[in-house]
Amino acid sequence: MTRRRFRASATLLPALLAAAPLSALPTMVRLGYPNCASCHIAPQGGGLLNAYGKGIDEAQSLRAGEYRPSGNPLVKALGWGGRITQDFRSVTLEQLSGGAGQPVLGLTRGRIMYRNATELGKGFRLSTVISAENKSAPRPALRYDLPVRPRAAYVGSALVSYRRGSHLEFSAGRDPLPNGINIPDQGLFVRSRNRMGYYDNPTQLKMFWWGKRYHINPYAFGPSGTEQRGQAESGGGGLAEFDLLGKGTTVVGMNLLHGRARFGRRTLIAPYVRLGFGKWGILAEHDITTRSAIQPAASRFRQSASLAQLFWAPREWLVAYFTGERLGVERPYREDLAAGKFELVARLASQVTVAIGARVQRNRLTGRYSQSVALQLAMKTVN
């Protein structure tokens, strides 16, 4: 790839198809799992699975076997008698993208992660995610909201958590902010345009309180230290969701956030739903962000990002996703984008997941289309 083409791809690709880490499955709402705490160690979801989650992960794969914890003495020793849960995970993306009058760009991106959660006893837990990659995938560089500068190796999460009982947890440290429907694809407008890209891991203090029908998650956050000048943001918010019918399949929620940086402020109101109907379901979110920018020019404008995703699982291990997106930004940074994406994800075993997807985006102001296709392979160690 020439340098010019690479520069073009660096600005185009984030708007197209970012590598979805395939680590969180909000689609499990179809089987009556209303939140993430059942299967993931962290109640926010994503990341390492608990033992039950590993069982479900294996059961939902093509192999559909039984999860059995490793009996290897070395693995047991590294696991500190069951107190440490850890894995290595890699995500490799092969992507082709282009638009009318533009060259076709190819990209191969590899990312490897080490994830660790160590139970310290008395309810305390340390968790860490360390990542390294060959090519970065920052969220779009907007004049009023510059992305975190990516680095080849970085700490994606470093948290100290304290769990009291089985319903309440407090966490402090660096981590992605809580978000509504929790789709892992950071390239979606609802995430990439609301500072929820792959490298946005602000310092936080957050609480999770959940039960059979509710999940409440207030949080306060500050800069991570990796933001660009003037973009270090502090603020707070809260996420609350409720299972309407009590069957774990009809979750409605709202995420509210207010953040203040030297170069601007934003207030996010993000209602969302997760609905499951056995083999299929619907995830939808509508984010309204009111922004006040000081740099590059004083302005106040609104941004709206919407997502609706229909998913269908013809087999437990095979899920098809049909996603529609819309982004609107008012003057002076006017944008009007619509996008559609199809993705087919096959979980071959708990260690291996393959995804193939295609995305089309239309700029409704210019009438231009851009397309991308991607093949993704995610692998992890399971012990």
Partner: protein, 215 residues
């Protein structure tokens, strides 16, 4: 013509009684008619010790046989037999289904007998065409071939064409059947399992007539 008070009273009484005499409820001694089920499904759900994890399953392979007759006490259902092959119960996860069949429905001798409900007679006093009635259905429910007393309240509605729509809820305790609560990686199901039954059935007039009212 002068009509005496006694004659008027007699006429009023007759007018009032006539519908009662001719109503279906009063036709005691009607032959029993077979009930043919058009569709039926059974669902179950149970909680676990983890707040947001519950287990739900469904089968649409419920087979139901019964006879009905109108009597002085309303509608009476007789010889009720319902069966549900355990292999048709699905929770949406094959591995979990296997666990369920293995830990819940397999008897000590290794068999997986169908779930079976039997009741000799159930009276539904208020059931008549166009009107919904709640009927307590009592009988025995066998799981793993072990029969235990079981009752549930069914809301039944019969339309004018002889079609019944019924739905009801009940609950069983695994411990009543000597079944240990299944547990997987720290997630343990509750002892109580809630059941829900839905079915649409029709009076099987032709069969009843051909068989002299005895299916």
């Amino acid at each position: 013509m002068r009509v005496s008070a006694a004659a008027t009273l007699t006429r009023l009484l007759l007018l009032g009684i006539a519908p009662v005499i001719t109503s279906p409820l009063s036709r005691a001694g009607e032959p029993a008619e077979a009930i043919a089920v058009e569709s039926a499904s059974a669902t179950f759900s149970t909680g676990t010790n983890v707040p947001a994890v519950s287990v739900k399953g469904k089968s649409s392979a419920v087979q139901l046989r019964a006879r009905m007759r109108r009597g002085g006490q309303g509608t009476i259902f007789e010889s009720i037999e319902a069966t549900l092959p355990v292999k048709t119960l699905a929770t949406g996860m094959n591995v979990r289904d296997e666990h369920m069949r293995k830990y819940v429905f397999t008897s000590p001798d290794g068999r997986q007998p169908d779930l079976r409900f039997e009741s000799s007679q159930v009276a539904c006093p208020g059931l008549e065409p166009g009107r919904e009635a709640a009927c307590t259905v009592s009988g025995t429910l066998a799981i793993r071939g072990v029969p235990r007393s079981f009752s549930m309240v069914l809301k039944i509605k019969e339309d004018s064409g002889g079609t019944f729509r019924a739905a009801g809820d009940g609950a069983v305790k695994l411990s009543d059947y000597g079944i240990e609560q299944p547990s997987q990686f720290g997630v343990k199901t509750a002892n109580e399992v809630r059941l829900h039954l839905d079915f649409v059935a029709r009076r099987h007039l032709a069969a009843s007539a051909a068989e002299g009212g005895r299916p």
